[in-house]
Amino acid sequence: MKTEVHALEVHDLTVTYHKKPVLYGIDLAVPTGNLVGVVGPNGAGKSTLIKSIMGVVPMASGWAEAFGQPVNDVLGRIGYVPQRESVDWDFPVTVMDVAMMGTFGRLGPFRRAGASERARAEEALERVGMLPFAKRQIGSLSGGQQQRVFLARALAQDSDLYFMDEPFAGVDAATESAIIELLKELREQGKTVLVVHHDLQSARDYFDMLILLNMRVVAFGKTEDVFTTELLQKTYGGRLTILAEMAEQAAKVPLEKIHKDHS
């Protein structure tokens, strides 16, 4: 029996890539109103976790719910900031065009954007300090500015739950502190934010809760509880190499054979 509805609940999520498991039996229950960091070594599946919850990458098994409903049904309440490398920055769009995309969720695929949408996009750009660049083509911006534009698009979505894939990658120090201030602001408004992050040092200061990930959830909880030498060593120490190795071996075994062995 559920006593409270979690912002995000993931049950037994497994993702495979070319039959090799990337994530293995992930269980999560993230309470509403937290700033949650997803940390782990390279190839731990941090980005894959977000992508599979969003449905960008298919799940091999398991399910994900947001606010007690299947993610698919509540995508309108979720904001997604993909990795900066995932788009072509030479694409003929301006900073304003990208921010306007944040308003498309409420507009639906067909309704025209009006003055109120424009105002919302402008306000979002203002909040990240990118309004003066509104007419610039996005490729002419610095890495930090590009990340701010992505963030403005997410703000214009005005979601309750955010997934951000490495928003701090390749940004300058000023942008990093501006982003973290913004994330804290979102948390004050009762929103839940999941951030893929690769810098362990700052993760401790930035986030209320941490998901220590390495194919499996090594630990999940309040930052002060899980930021321990023992757990971090378990996450980064490569003790799970045997699991990865075996998973790779198993991927090569034809499916029928496994069934036969089981019977």
Partner: protein
């Protein structure tokens, strides 16, 4: 019903609308090879359409061509899924195979009229062909108008399209179908071999001219129609040239114009910007030289002769003179005696001090913070002095704790004080 010229113009219009719209997506999604594959893959369908019916039936040919195109798209898709082939190789395999089948089938039982689908022949387009083309291009225009937003978002950021609950895979399939339809609309005018030129070239031309996708689509349609009309008229005047090459060459000529003269991304604009930069840097270097010559003197005399300056810059006086005149024009220097004796004005003094400060600050930074060798820093500073400004300059000064001398012991001037000193000195 339609005269030859009317047919040509209508065909250009239909072709321009279809290829211009679809082509814009093809270019920004980097699907050029997909478009090429699709256009070659429809050919066996065309041949079969002729083969199976005694009389040429445009709708039957349309159906066969679409089927062949879709089959080609599905095959290359499944090649990618089941093998380790990447997109380009799997498309390439399908492209040549389908086209070879078409040519082979045609040689087995040559049907008159097939060759006009190969290279395009506007004269062979009948009224019923034209009606079919009009209908299909209308369908394409309506579909793109309706699905504009999902297509646009999915082209830019598929992950975000998923966030907006757009069915990305379904959209991709619809797009592949529309692409096949655009090929079918254009193949009689341009020919299957060159249809991809119409899918790519006009949209590529538009891409060089704008930073907005909606504008790019409109320009792309405009260039397509224009290229179609020029090409049709050309081949109409000179019946020996098949329409396809004539249209493709017209499109390429338009592209060439944009490539050369586009205001932002054209080579001419880039060249002019570059030349302006080079001139600016030369002027600034001359300005600095005047400052440095003065600095090296013990008597503090400010006037510098032309020959002194030329010698210092290691260039002939005739090279230096134009720079001096343009510096004079913007009030940074003044002439004391015709073209022979020059002196920095108050503003010139300040600007020169800024450049010198930048140069010396950067040298200091490289040596102190980046551990450069002392003899390595000058060339780098020659570049940086012209671009250093704003926040970064402030940060640099702060990090070096507002130094007053560079690593070679030369003073780092404070431009604000320079002009004040000068003003006081002038009053004396």
């Amino acid at each position: 019903m339609f005269g030859a010229l009317q047919t040509a113009l209508l065909a250009s219009l239909f072709l321009g609308l279809s290829c211009g719209l679809i082509g814009s997506y093809v270019v920004v999604r980097r699907m050029s090879l997909f478009g090429d594959t699709m256009s070659h893959a429809v050919f066996p369908g065309v041949v079969l359409g002729f083969f199976l019916q005694d009389e040429k039936n445009p709708y039957f040919i349309l159906g066969c061509a679409l089927l062949a195109g879709i089959l080609g798209a599905l095959m290359s898709g499944s090649l990618q899924r089941t093998t380790r082939l990447k997109q380009d190789a799997s498309l390439g395999v399908v492209l040549v195979t389908f086209f070879a089948f078409g040519v082979g089938l045609h040689s087995l039982s040559p049907q008159t009229g097939v060759s006009s689908y190969l290279y395009g022949q506007i004269a062979a387009i009948t009224d019923s062909d034209l009606l079919m083309m009009g209908g299909v291009s209308l369908l394409i225009v309506c579909a793109v108008a309706l699905l504009r937003r999902p297509f646009y978002v999915a082209s830019f950021d598929p992950g975000f399209a998923r966030n907006l609950s757009y069915p990305v895979k379904v959209l991709d399939s619809i797009f592949a179908f529309l692409l096949a339809a655009a090929v079918v609309v254009s193949m009689q005018a341009v020919g299957v071999v060159l249809v991809s030129a119409m899918l790519i070239t006009p949209a590529a031309t538009a891409y060089l001219l704008t930073d907005r996708f909606s504008k790019m689509m409109m320009l792309s349609v405009g260039f397509s129609i224009l290229a179609g009309m020029i090409g049709c008229l050309w081949s109409y005047q000179q019946l020996k040239t098949p329409t396809g090459p004539a249209i493709a060459i017209s499109a390429a000529a338009l592209f060439g114009l944009a490539f050369l003269f586009a205001p932002q991304y054209g080579v001419l604009a880039k060249y002019l910007r570059r030349r302006q930069q080079v001139r600016q840097i030369r002027r600034e270097n001359t300005l600095q030289s005047l400052y440095r010559i003065k600095e090296q003197r013990s008597d503090g005399k400010r006037a510098v002769t032309l020959s002194e300056l030329a010698q210092y810059r290691r260039r002939s006086p005739s090279h230096v003179l134009p720079e001096l005149f343009s510096l004079k024009k913007v009030g940074l220097i003044e002439s004391l005696s015709g073209r022979d004796v020059w002196q920095l004005t108050m503003n010139g003094e300040q600007r020169a001090a800024e450049l010198i400060r930048n140069h010396r600050l950067w040298e200091l930074y490289l040596i102190n913070e980046a551990d450069y060798q002392t003899d390595h820093v000058h060339d780098d500073a020659e570049k940086m002095e012209h671009v250093l400004k704003g926040d970064l300059l402030e940060a640099l000064e702060k990090q070096l704790d507002f130094p007053t001398a560079d690593p070679h012991g030369m003073p780092i001037p404070d431009p604000a004080k320079t002009s004040v000193l000068l003003r006081e000195g002038g009053q004396k």
